[in-house]
C-alpha cells in the first residue's frame, strides 16, 4: 500500500456532531500547529443547526503557505460521528489515515484497503475515566487531540500551554484537560507506530502573524474606525461582527469618569430597522454601521436607495453566504455583488470594497467610515462566510496613532457664519460631493430638509426634469470621484508581456499563490489583479486593456463580477472568461488552474482579438 509521506504539508479533517464541544478542541489542534510556526488554515463546515447534525473541521497545514482550501479529500480523517462515517471513510485520500472510535466495532463493509485504520476506544476510555456524562462527552475531543500529538509528533508542551491559556481564571479545569490529552497521547504511543508518515515539524513560517476570523477583525475595525452607532439583526454568518464590536467596546470604550458607554448598539426588530438605525445615526453625524448577509441585503434595499439618494454616510458589512433565498445559510459564496452594487430601485450605484484577509477586514472596515463620510454614501464591505467565520493566518493588527478620522465635508457653526450661501446639494468643489451640516449646528444657517424625493441644490422639493437630471448627473460625478478615493487594485505581475490576466477578489485571494504556482508549472505565467473596490479604478480598465484574455474568478454561478466589469467598463464579453465555483465551499487553486488551463488549451490567447 502506498503511504502519504509528508512533513508540514497535509489536510486533516475532523468529523464531529455539532453541539458536542468539538469546536474548541479542534481549534486547539489548529492553534498548536500555528504555535509551532507552521502555517495553517482551519475551516469549519457546519450545518444550519444547533445540535446533532454532522459538522466538519478541515485543517490545511502548509509549510509553503498555501492557505486556500485544498481540493479533494483529507490525508487524515478523525471520525467521531457515526452518522457521517460512510462518507468520512470515502473522504480519505489513498495512502492516508482514518482515526476512529473503536469502542463499537466498525462495519467491515466500510473498510478500505488503501488507507490505514487507526482504531482507538475513545468512548471506553472516557467511560472508565469520568463519571459525569458531560465530561465523558467533552473529553472525547481532548483525547483525540492528545492522540494526534503523538501520531503527528506535535509539541506536547504547546498543547499544554494552550490549555493553560484557554482556562485562565478557571485553573481547576486545567489538570483534567491535560489529563485527557495525556490519555490520548499515551494510548497512541503504546498502540500505534508513532509518528505517522505524515507529521508536523517546528518551523518559522508564521512570524508575527495572528490567527483570527474576519468578523472579529471587522468588529475591531469598527471600534478603531470610530463607529458609535450600530443597528443590527442576527443572521448567520454576520452575527459575530456586531457581537465583537460590542464586546471590544465594552472593554475599550467605557468613559472612565462616568462608567457610561461611548457607543450605542441596538438589536433591531429586523434588517429594515437595522439599516434604518444606521442611517439615522449617519444623518445625525455619528459614524454608524450595520452588518448582515444576503437575505438582510434584500430587506435593506429600499433604505439603501434612500441613503444613496439622500446622501447619508453609512457602513454596511455584508458577510455573504450561499443564496438565493435562504440558500445554504452556513456555506460561503460571493453572490451578493450585483444585488449590492445596484441596490435599490431607480438608477442607483453603491460603493463596494472587498477585503481578502481578516487584517484587511480590520483596516477596510475602519477606512469604510472615512469613505462613507467623505463620499456621503453607503459603503458596503463585502466579505463572506469563509472569511468572516473561519480563522485565517493574517498579519497582526496595527494602527497609526497619528491618524485622524476624515469626517468629510461638514460645516460647523463658525464655517456657516463665514460661507456666503449654503445649499446642501450645491457642488461647490466640482467633485460631486457637497457640504452638509449636522442637525442642531446653527440657529439660522445650514438648516435643510433631508428627503428621498427629488430636490434642487437648496434641498427644496422639485419635480422639474432639469433639476432632477442635474442632481442625478452630479451623483454620477460623485461616483467617479469615489473611484479615486477608494483602494486601488493590487497587481500581481508574473512577467511583463503576459497576454493572459486573472482578475479575482475577496477570499479567492487565499487560493491564488498556489494557483499561480500550478499555472507556472504548466508553463503559463499569467498576470493577476486583485480587485479591492467598486466603482472600478482606472487601473482596472488598464489591466483588462493590456491583456488579450482575462479570466474573472469568483464564487457565484452567474459571474456577477464579470457582468459588473462588462457593464461598467464597456468590455467585450468575449474577452472576459468566467471561472465560477459556487458549491458553497471555498474555491480551490486546483479548480481555478484547471479551468484556466482547459480554456487556454481550447482557445489560446493569441487567437483572441484585442478588445
Amino acid at each position: 500500500m502506498k503511504t502519504i509521506n509528508s512533513v508540514n504539508e497535509f489536510v486533516i479533517r475532523f468529523a464531529n456532531t455539532n453541539g458536542t464541544g468539538s469546536a474548541s478542541a479542534n481549534n486547539m489542534f489548529a492553534k498548536a500547529i500555528f504555535r509551532m510556526g507552521v502555517p495553517v488554515s482551519p475551516r469549519n463546515v457546519f450545518p444550519s443547526n444547533i445540535q446533532g447534525m454532522p459538522t466538519w473541521y478541515d485543517v490545511r497545514v502548509s509549510e509553503k503557505g498555501y492557505l486556500g482550501r485544498r481540493a479533494g479529500g483529507a490525508d487524515i480523517v478523525v471520525a467521531m460521528n457515526a452518522q457521517s462515517m460512510v462518507d468520512d471513510v470515502q473522504s480519505v485520500e489513498a495512502g492516508g489515515y482514518f482515526l476512529y472510535d473503536s469502542t463499537k466495532e466498525i462495519d467491515p463493509q466500510l473498510m478500505r484497503k488503501d488507507i490505514t485504520f487507526l482504531g482507538m476506544p475513545i468512548s471506553a476510555i472516557c467511560l472508565r475515566e469520568y463519571n459525569d456524562p458531560r465530561q465523558r462527552q467533552l473529553f472525547k475531543n481532548v483525547i483525540y487531540v492528545g492522540a494526534l500529538a503523538a501520531l503527528l509528533d506535535m509539541d506536547f508542551d504547546v498543547l499544554k500551554g494552550l490549555i493553560a491559556d484557554q482556562f485562565k481564571g478557571k485553573e481547576k479545569l486545567i489538570s483534567p484537560n491535560v489529563h485527557a490529552l495525556e490519555l490520548g497521547y499515551q494510548y497512541a504511543k503504546t498502540n500505534f507506530n508513532c509518528p505517522l508518515s505524515i507529521r508536523v515539524q517546528k518551523s518559522d513560517k508564521v512570524g508575527n502573524r495572528i490567527l483570527i476570523d474576519g468578523n472579529t477583525a471587522a468588529g475591531l475595525g469598527a471600534v478603531y474606525g470610530g463607529a458609535t452607532v450600530a443597528g443590527w439583526y442576527p443572521i448567520t454568518p454576520s452575527t459575530s461582527v456586531v457581537e465583537n464590536y460590542e464586546k471590544y467596546c465594552n472593554r475599550l470604550r467605557i468613559d472612565p469618569a462616568s462608567g457610561k458607554k461611548n457607543f450605542a448598539v441596538m438589536q433591531a426588530e429586523d434588517e429594515l430597522a437595522a439599516i434604518g438605525i444606521a442611517i439615522g445615526g449617519g444623518w445625525n453625524g455619528a459614524r454608524s454601521f450595520t452588518a448582515t448577509s444576503g437575505p438582510g441585503i434584500s430587506l435593506m434595499t429600499e433604505f439603501l436607495g434612500l441613503a444613496y439618494f439622500a446622501e447619508i454616510p453609512v457602513v454596511l458589512i455584508d458577510v455573504q453566504r450561499a443564496g438565493p433565498s435562504t440558500g445554504m445559510p452556513t456555506r460561503t459564496q460571493q453572490s451578493d455583488i450585483l444585488a449590492c452594487a445596484y441596490a435599490s430601485h431607480g438608477d442607483t450605484k453603491q460603493v463596494l470594497i472587498f477585503p481578502s484577509t481578516p487584517t484587511e477586514c480590520f483596516h477596510m472596515t475602519a477606512d469604510a467610515f472615512d469613505y462613507a463620510e467623505r463620499i456621503q454614501t453607503p459603503i458596503m464591505v463585502m466579505t463572506d462566510l469563509d472569511l468572516g467565520m473561519n480563522d485565517h493566518m493574517s498579519d497582526e493588527l496595527s494602527w497609526d496613532d497619528s491618524r485622524t478620522y476624515d469626517r468629510g465635508k461638514v460645516l460647523n457653526a463658525q464655517q456657516l457664519e463665514e460661507v456666503e450661501e449654503f445649499g446642501r446639494y450645491l457642488d461647490v468643489d466640482g467633485d460631486g460631493i457637497c457640504y452638509r451640516t449636522y442637525p442642531g449646528t446653527h440657529p439660522e444657517k445650514g438648516i435643510y430638509f433631508t428627503r428621498g424625493t427629488s430636490r434642487n441644490e437648496y434641498a427644496a422639493y422639485t419635480e422639474r426634469g432639469e433639476d432632477y437630471v442635474r442632481n442625478m448627473e452630479r451623483l454620477n460625478k460623485k461616483f467617479r470621484t469615489a473611484a479615486e478615493i477608494l483602494p486601488q487594485p493590487e497587481m500581481h505581475s508574473q512577467n511583463k508581456g503576459s497576454k493572459i490576466g486573472v482578475v479575482y477578489f475577496g477570499t479567492t485571494n487565499a487560493a491564488m499563490d498556489e494557483t499561480f504556482d500550478l499555472l507556472r508549472a504548466q508553463g503559463q505565467n499569467v498576470d493577476g489583479m486583485r480587485l479591492k473596490a467598486f466603482p472600478f479604478a482606472k487601473a482596472v480598465e488598464d489591466f483588462i486593456e493590456q491583456h488579450d484574455q482575462v479570466f474573472v474568478v469568483e464564487q457565484n454561478r452567474d459571474a456577477q463580477m464579470r457582468t459588473l466589469l462588462m457593464n461598467e467598463l464597456d468590455i467585450d464579453p468575449a474577452k472576459l472568461i468566467k471561472v465560477c465555483n459556487y458549491d458553497g465551499l471555498p474555491i480551490t487553486a486546483d479548480f481555478i488552474s484547471t479551468t484556466i488551463l482547459d480554456h487556454i488549451a481550447v482557445a489560446p490567447a493569441s487567437k483572441v482579438a484585442r478588445g
Binding site: Y248, K260, G280, E396, F449
Partner: protein
C-alpha cells in the same frame, strides 16, 4: 389659493423667552388640501414649540411617507428634518437619537405609515421607549393615493365610495399602552385648546410620548357615513380629562378642590394639571387607561385627553447606558483605543 407665504408680520407680535415670534416656528406654505386636519396639527405644534421657547434648531423632525409625513415641511422651518421611507421613521429616529441624545425629536406619521406598513417599527420604537414625541395624524384613510381605507378606520363605517369597511380597526393608543409607552394621549385637530397643552407636555416628557390626533381628511373621508369626519368626531369626542400645561418657571396659583384635579410632574419640573372629565379615571393607571379607551369605544365615543403618563420610567439611553455627551461629538481621541491596545489583542490570537 395662495402660493406664496407672506413674510410680513406685525411688529408687535408676541415674543417668547428666546425673543422669537411664533412665525419663527413656521415652515413652508402647506401644499395639503385646504382644511386638512394635518395643518391644524402643525399649527398646534408651532404654538407649542413657541410657547415652550424651544430653540428651533435643537428640534429634529422626522417622518415617513404620506400626507402626514409631508407635513413637517410646513412647520419648524428652522429645524433639520428627515422625510424617510414609508413606515420606517421609527428606526431612523432611533439611530438619530443614539447619535445625539441632546436634541428633541418629533416624529410625524399617519395611520398608514404607523398602523399598516410601519406597524412593526412602531411597536418596537415604543418598546425601546425612545425619547421622542410621536404624533400620528389619524384620518382613517390613505389620502396621497386617493381614498383607500386605513387600518385605523372603524369596522362597519363606509368609504366615500360607499364600500363598507370589513376589518377590525387598530387602536394605536391601546397598542402604545400595551407596549410600554410612558406618555399616551389622544386629541382632535379641531380642538387646539386640548391639543396644544398635550403637545407641550409630550415635548417635555422624557421618554416615548405618543399622541394620536384625529385629523379629518376633507377630501376623502369627510362624508356622512365616515366615523373620521369633522362632524362625526366633534359629536363623539369625549374628553377623559382637560390638561393644563404649567411650565416649571410659572408659579402655580389656581387651586382646585381635592379630587377635581391631579398634577403630574415632568422631568424638567413642569406640571401637567389634569381636570377630570365626567368619566374621569386615574391617568397614572395603565390598566385603567386601556379599560377606559375600550369602554368608550363600545359606547361609540372617542376618548381623548391625556390617557396615561408615567414620568418616572426610564428611556432608551438609560437602558443602554449611553454617555451624556452626544456620540456625534466624540472624536478619535476618545473613540480610538490606539495602537498600544492592539498588542494584547494580537496576542490573544496567537
Amino acid at each position: 389659493m395662495s402660493y406664496l407665504k407672506s413674510k410680513f408680520h406685525h411688529p408687535k407680535l408676541a415674543k417668547n423667552d428666546l425673543g422669537l415670534t411664533y412665525r419663527d416656528y413656521e415652515g413652508a406654505l402647506s401644499t395639503l388640501c385646504a382644511g386638512c386636519g394635518h395643518d391644524a396639527v402643525g399649527a398646534a405644534l408651532v404654538q407649542a414649540c413657541f410657547e415652550l421657547s424651544l430653540e428651533p434648531h435643537k428640534v429634529a423632525k422626522l417622518s415617513g411617507i404620506g400626507c402626514s409625513s409631508k407635513a413637517p415641511t410646513y412647520f419648524l422651518g428652522k429645524s433639520h428634518g428627515f422625510n424617510t421611507v414609508h413606515g420606517r421613521m421609527p428606526s431612523v429616529a432611533t439611530g438619530a437619537s443614539m447619535a445625539n441624545r441632546s436634541l428633541k425629536y418629533v416624529g410625524m406619521s399617519g395611520d398608514g405609515d404607523t398602523a399598516s406598513i410601519g406597524m412593526g417599527q412602531f411597536a418596537h420604537v415604543v418598546r425601546r421607549r425612545l425619547d421622542m414625541t410621536y404624533i400620528v395624524a389619524n384620518n382613517g384613510v390613505y389620502g396621497l393615493t386617493k381614498g383607500q381605507t386605513a387600518a385605523t378606520a372603524d369596522k362597519g363605517s363606509h368609504t366615500k365610495k360607499g364600500e363598507e369597511i370589513l376589518w377590525s380597526a387598530i387602536d394605536l393608543p391601546t397598542m402604545a399602552l400595551q407596549l410600554g409607552a410612558t406618555f399616551v394621549a389622544r386629541s382632535f385637530s379641531g380642538d387646539k385648546d386640548q391639543l396644544v397643552p398635550l403637545l407641550k407636555a409630550a415635548l417635555c416628557h422624557e421618554g416615548f410620548a405618543f399622541i394620536d390626533v384625529l385629523s379629518p381628511c376633507v377630501t376623502f373621508n369627510n362624508h356622512a357615513t365616515s366615523t373620521r369626519s369633522y362632524d362625526y368626531v366633534r359629536e363623539h369626542v369625549e374628553a377623559g380629562n382637560i390638561a393644563d400645561f404649567v411650565p416649571s418657571r410659572e408659579e402655580i396659583t389656581t387651586k382646585y378642590a381635592e379630587g377635581e384635579s391631579k398634577d403630574i410632574c415632568l422631568h424638567d419640573g413642569s406640571l401637567i394639571r389634569l381636570h377630570k372629565g365626567k368619566d374621569g379615571y386615574d391617568p397614572t393607571d395603565r390598566f385603567a387607561a386601556i379599560n377606559a379607551i375600550e369602554q368608550h369605544r363600545i359606547k361609540g365615543e372617542i376618548l381623548t385627553g391625556l390617557l396615561y403618563c408615567d414620568p418616572t420610567l426610564r428611556d432608551m439611553h438609560d437602558f443602554l447606558g449611553t454617555t451624556e455627551t452626544p456620540l456625534n461629538t466624540l472624536d478619535e481621541k476618545t473613540l480610538c483605543p490606539g495602537n498600544h491596545a492592539l498588542a494584547g489583542i494580537n496576542n490573544s490570537f496567537r
